[in-house]
Amino acid sequence: MSANANANASAPAGRVPDAAGHFGRFGGRFVPEALVAALDELDAAYRKAMTDEAFLAEFDALLRDYAGTPSLLYSAERFSAKAGARILLKREDLNHTGAHKVRNVLGQALLTKRMGKKRVIAETGAGQHGVATATAAALFDLECVVYMGEVDTRRQALNVARMRMLGATVVPVTTGSRTLKDAMNEAMRDWVANVDDTHYLIGTAAGPHPFPEMVRDFVRGIGEEARQQCLDLTGALPDAVAACVGGGSNALGIFHAFVPDTDVRLYGFEAGGEGVETGRHAASITGGTSGVLHGTRTYVLQNEDGQTIESHSISAGLDYPGVGPEHAWLHDSGRATYAPVTDTEAMAAFELLCRTEGIIPAIESAHALAGALKIAPTLAAELGREPVIVVNLSGRGDKDVHTAGEYFGILDKE
């Protein structure tokens, strides 16, 4: 049995979240009563599955044979030389569909089947979660509807085509700001109306309980693998783990196994956009305040009246005005450190990885790389030696070629 299944079977330590999904003062359920029965049903199915050997074996087999995990932990020598730290890349970009997200969708699709539901819905920003959901829906023969902001359907036309090829229906959302948060609102509305036969396959560790905890558990294999791989490779745990944070599933996935290792520093890098001071960013922890959004209490970008403020980031996958409640709690408890990375810093790291390692990262993951570059000198000074930093390379950059090409001005004029 893999590390993933073993860890899933172990009893949760200290009961965070509590039985109602509270991570300290964050999390919980801020939802219409109409959804409570479905959330309870999901919670029961998920808890049963997590102690069911058959479910865990099926999940592990899918992750291994279909998704291609465990993903490699790769020692990026040339990038490390530039960084002044030993950078170990957790290659989630090599997973089927090109990102860590496949772990979550396979877990939730399996649960959907167990609950006897025939239809899944999802929200998507850049389209990555939509593509992953459409992929799992094709594999499990589920009807699939993906809500996507109208603005994003135009920005990400290729991913719209991918979802349609996989048999999904893509619904452009024309309400509000016509981006990810509005796609999430629309998916919630669909779920309220169709909850009997439909599972809402949320794409990140956010939303009402049990989603934050459940999604984390489906992706926590990332950190479990990386922890063991780092021990095997270096004989020790890393000094730090770095990940980008939008909703925060890839970061929780890699953090979770390291949380008890208090000597390992955990860094979450948020999308600083044009700079937190400009107001044009997506850094909910660094630049937001506590509030309720999309069913959970967490850090939110909002005005004084509690109206959500639109986020900005060059990375569509980080362009969300909230964050998973467990991150809010890890921030408050001081166990993890969160800092913003600007578009400019992320794109510099993006280019550096391309040129030194021949790996085109997702722009999301480039935020984690940029963050590692920022903390390396401080860590080296503090430790008096070259630090070892595990960076979650959460996704590949194929989807970002157009954005990056425009950013670097390397596209031929038509």
């Binding site: 009563e33 509000g176 959004l293």
Partner: protein
Amino acid sequence: MSRIGVAFDKARADGRAVLVGCMPAGFPTVEGSIAAMTAMVEAGVDVIEMEIPYSDPVMDGPVIQKASDIALASGVRTADTLRIVEAVAATGAPVVTMTYWNPIEQYGVDAFARDLAAAGGTGLITPDLIPDEADEWLAASDAYGLDRTFLVSPSSTDARLKMTAEHCRGFVYATAIMGVTGARAETSDAAPILVSRTREVTDLPVGVGLGVGTGAQAGTVAGYADGVIVGSALIRCLLDAPDQATGLAALRALSAELAEGVRTPIR
């Protein structure tokens, strides 16, 4: 007893249901929304449900979303909504506030309860706050004598129905159909069942919302519920009108039709 309770008692004595009319605060402007809610009361709406506009209203359909967006774009603030409550309450009709939770949390739960009570509001309807998460609101509403209306749904278990109703004061809001707000051609078969299930666990009046748009539908719902809650159809009168005067005339006409409907319950 709360003023809403009095309104329900009076209607019950008259052998009819209470008509609750919903309108977003600040739609299309602060003054415009006061004029609209006043017109509704004058045309026969018994209770005004004033919705605080919110950027992410997940329980609302396209009509209320659009009206909320217009209100927010016009610059309405939470403090303005209290001014609207005060102005509309001056008509004598009870004004209950419907709100998603985040605006209240940001204003401060205790401060909002204090200011709502001072403005003459009767209480809150909370579509995304369930009693499980409501400790602060339970305390504040007790402290300032405000009503609490939580929602019950056809999918609520018996245990949750009982628990939710026990935390309500004033009336219980039964969401007639599984889905968001908005007028529909047919009202729901699930609604009468939900109302009777709710009555088994509480003596509070039960209002039915989601989907009612005509006098005939109001009459049908009045046949089994204590209150008929209408939102989108009323709001559409203003959204579809070329100017304010036409909109208010349509709003009065529909309010009067609905008021007639709740007085002719179809049993």
